[in-house]
Amino acid sequence: MNLFVILKRTFDTEEKISIANGAIAHDSAEYIINPYDEYAIEEAITLRDTHGGEVTVVTVGTEESEKELRTALAMGADKAVLIDAEELDHSDQFTTAAILATYFKEQEFDLILGGNVAIDNGTGQVGPRLAELLDIPQVTTITKLEINGTDVKIERDVEGDVEKIETSLPLLVTAQQGLNEPRYPSLPGIMKAKKKPLETLELDDLDIDEDDVEAKTKTIEVYLPAKKEAGKILSGELNDQVKELVSLLRSEAKVI
């Protein structure tokens, strides 16, 4: 089976976000594989171990993303592809999906797995867009996956409920928490990863013209959430407190 995982390099979940010159400061940040993409990698490796085949991890990023690709190889993926898009000044979900679609049109694939959402921008769009562009079925936020020949049985998380779906390969799925427990790269895995193939493609190699993948959106402003103010403790008769609370909710919090 030809298994592909699309992954993204994101900020470490522990990172404190700061804004400098109207953009998120990247200077000393630690990076990780987007945690939802880790579920996708784990699932792909398990599927390969059961059904045979090969796992290729793909990212659209810069040279720095090699580190996350290596980590995926150390977990057990077989091959990695870095599509270097450093030359693009602006990119959005359209850009990423368009680049990936161009790449995948040249590949033989049975299943593409991705995370349900990336923890940085949190749009959850790249997977669904890619499936549309490739004209294949897609199932998002999956929590269980069973493959039998080309038949696929899936359970997906629908806001806490479970939806059961049957579909067939080729297919794109995005992983939700609960799909599996991603492994850590073992030390032998880390040492082996050094020798696994990691291919870098420039946009030119894919015959992509920068204009064709130009971002469809423009970021107007980036700002941090307002600082949480200290809470208020009301006092006095219970009835008065309730009245005050209602009036504050109306006038200050403006929620009713």
Partner: protein, 594 residues
């Protein structure tokens, strides 16, 4: 995978030679694989061990065994074991990083360290082919776990005073061991013990003893002040028949194994201490930001900031020193041919080469941890005294590190003792350098100190070397053979040498980082280097003064003190201001920041 430094340095040579920043290993030299190994270890500790810490602290050793086996599955037990025996045969930097990350596992890090370090290494380094094949694959996978039995009720620092005996039986097939070993880490569950005993009550030797041999038993679990997650019991040997194939190394040469394993144990312990110190900084910085008093976070008070800055700067010094030492080991051991790597004598020599550095790291880093853990409790105030706060445990766990693997007092005495021996053997030209210095002192003119970043710190390092040579030359001249009775002065010398090693390690590390990626990205490193060097130099000066006063009197004393003043003349930096800057960053990021 290693990117070890090409040059191989003699142990102790830092005292009289200057090295280039490029020739010193620093944490900024970690490879991608090193960092991935560190991450796997960190993830393992956080996700597998930390949730079980309560059980571990409660002596549920079946959990320890399970966790060690899981560590084995990830390869975390096989780093120092060669590939041909089922291990990974990775470099010393990798094993050091694993040790650092394990510190977060509290007493369980001692279980891990005892297994992979003092438990397995005697067989890795000094075992014969048959012993390696029989034991190492299981030790690397965690199928069997190891312990190390050197200490006895009557012999601690005086290891060679052991009373446990071994006697070849009449058939000549087995050594019969009798005796009692004390405070044996992992003794509740270890399958294999490296035991020291005297053959015929005389020849100190090492044996591999399996738990299931008849006559092997362990005493009750000790009640300890800290590191409760590790098992500590006596090992009782009653007419234990050990196959003669399990004699480790040669009869009467057990001390070579014991002392070299101790050397490795010492620098590894130092790495663990540094890892623990980093964690305490993180916890304390978070608390200082959260805790409000007088309607402000306590982190906004300069006295709390001063503590955090001291904790960070000293940890930086420890981190720079221990990885420098790991680099020294790596370049020397990495240089041995495959044949030499199988030769216990060669290995022993390579390790013993850095005995001084091992001792320096051991007492320096364990005292940094002691300070950091103590201030961590202080920053937490009354809450730090309560067991539900992490720092309470960190404080108790820290205490043992100044005691085991050779007390800090023994390690202090070892430093000048080894140096004098090296000088006598002609391995280090200390006497020549000291004599040359005497002449130099006569006509020394005050030097202009540059104004570039690190200029002053480099100057202080070079002057510290001279001060140490001067004091060392003085006491050797004065006491000669009787020097060993002057323990206070010897300990002063050890302290001065330790401060120097740490100072130089911070300066060269910061310089190397500057050269690689530019000074502006390393302001925190520079600040910590400046603060540490200034304060370390002040301490060196004080130790030197006390030592000179203890040794000389009258006109000679006045002359020596004036020479010391010449050597220590400089305009000190404003450490208060710099510490506030350091603390601001630590509080912002709530961790030890580089």
């Amino acid at each position: 995978m290693s990117n070890t430094m090409e040059k191989v340095f003699k142990g102790g040579s830092f005292l009289i030679e200057d090295i280039e920043a490029a020739d010193m290993f620093t944490p900024e030299d970690f490879t991608e694989e090193h960092l991935m190994i560190a991450k796997t270890t960190e993830d393992y500790v956080l996700k597998e061990v930390v949730p079980q810490l309560d059980k571990l602290e409660d002596h549920q050793f079946d959990v320890s065994v399970d966790l060690l086996k899981k560590a084995g599955d990830l390869g975390l037990l096989g780093v120092d074991v060669p590939e041909e025996y089922g291990g990974l045969g990775l470099d010393k930097i990798s094993s050091s990083l694993i040790t650092e990350k394990f510190a977060r596992a509290r007493g369980f890090s001692i279980s891990h360290g005892a297994h992979v370090g003092i438990g397995s290494l005697p067989i890795v380094l000094f075992g014969n082919e048959d012993q390696k094949q029989r034991y190492l694959p299981d030790l690397a996978s965690g199928a069997r776990l190891a312990a190390y039995a050197l200490t006895e009720p009557g012999s601690g620092s005086d290891a060679l005073g052991a009373k446990t005996t071994a006697k070849l039986n009449a058939e000549g097939t087995h050594y019969v061991l009798n005796g009692e070993k004390q405070w044996i880490t992992n003794s509740a569950f270890a399958d294999v013990f490296v035991v020291y005993a005297k053959v015929d009550g005389e020849h100190f030797s090492a044996f591999i003893v399996e738990r299931n041999y008849k006559g092997v038993s362990t005493g009750p679990e000790e009640k300890k002040m800290g590191i409760k997650s590790s098992s500590t019991r006596t090992l009782i040997l009653e007419d234990v028949h050990v196959p003669k194939e399990n004699l480790l190394g040669e009869i009467g040469r057990g001390h070579v194994i014991a002392f070299n394993i101790l050397n490795i144990g010492r620098y590894k312990l130092a790495i663990g201490c540094m890892g623990g110190a980093k964690r305490s900084i993180e916890v304390s910085a978070k608390y200082a930001n959260e805790r409000q008093q007088f309607k402000k976070s306590i982190g906004s008070f300069p006295l709390i900031q001063e503590k955090l800055a001291n904790m960070a700067s000293q940890t930086y010094a420890a981190e720079s020193s221990v990885y420098r030492t790991a680099g020294l080991f790596e370049s020397r051991l990495g240089q041995l041919s495959e044949e030499e790597q199988k030769d216990g004598l060669q290995i022993g020599k390579s390790i013993a080469e850095y005995a001084i550095e091992c001792s320096l790291n051991k007492f320096f880093a364990s005292e940094v941890l002691a300070y950091v853990a103590d201030e961590a409790v202080q920053i937490h105030g009354g809450y730090g005294f309560m067991s539900e706060y992490e720092v309470e445990g960190a404080y108790r766990d820290a205490r043992i590190h100044r005691i085991f693997e050779g007390t800090n007092e023994i390690n202090r005495l070892l430093v000048p003792g080894t140096l004098v021996r090296k000088a006598m053997k002609g391995e280090l030209p200390l006497v020549e350098k000291a004599t040359a210095l005497q002449n130099e002192l006569m006509m020394m003119m005050p030097q202009e100190i540059g104004t570039e970043a690190l200029d002053q710190e480099k100057y202080l390092v070079s002057m510290a070397k001279k001060v140490i040579l001067m004091v060392a030359g003085l006491v050797v001249q004065k006491y000669g053979q009787k020097l060993e009775n002057e323990q206070e002065v010897l300990a002063n010398l050890a302290d001065m040498i330790s401060e120097l090693y740490a100072m130089e390690s911070t300066v060269l590390r910061t310089e190397k980082a500057f050269n690689r990626t530019g000074a502006e990205r390393h302001t925190q490193k520079l600040l910590m280097t400046e603060v540490f060097c200034q304060e370390a130099f002040n301490r060196i000066e004080a130790h030197a003064k006390e030592s000179i006063i203890a040794v000389e009197e009258g006109d000679t004393l006045r002359m020596m003190l004036s020479a010391l003043r010449k050597l220590t003349r400089h305009t000190p930096i404003n450490v208060i201001k710099k510490k506030r800057e350091i603390a601001t960053v630590v509080l912002e990021e709530e961790r030890y920041v580089l």
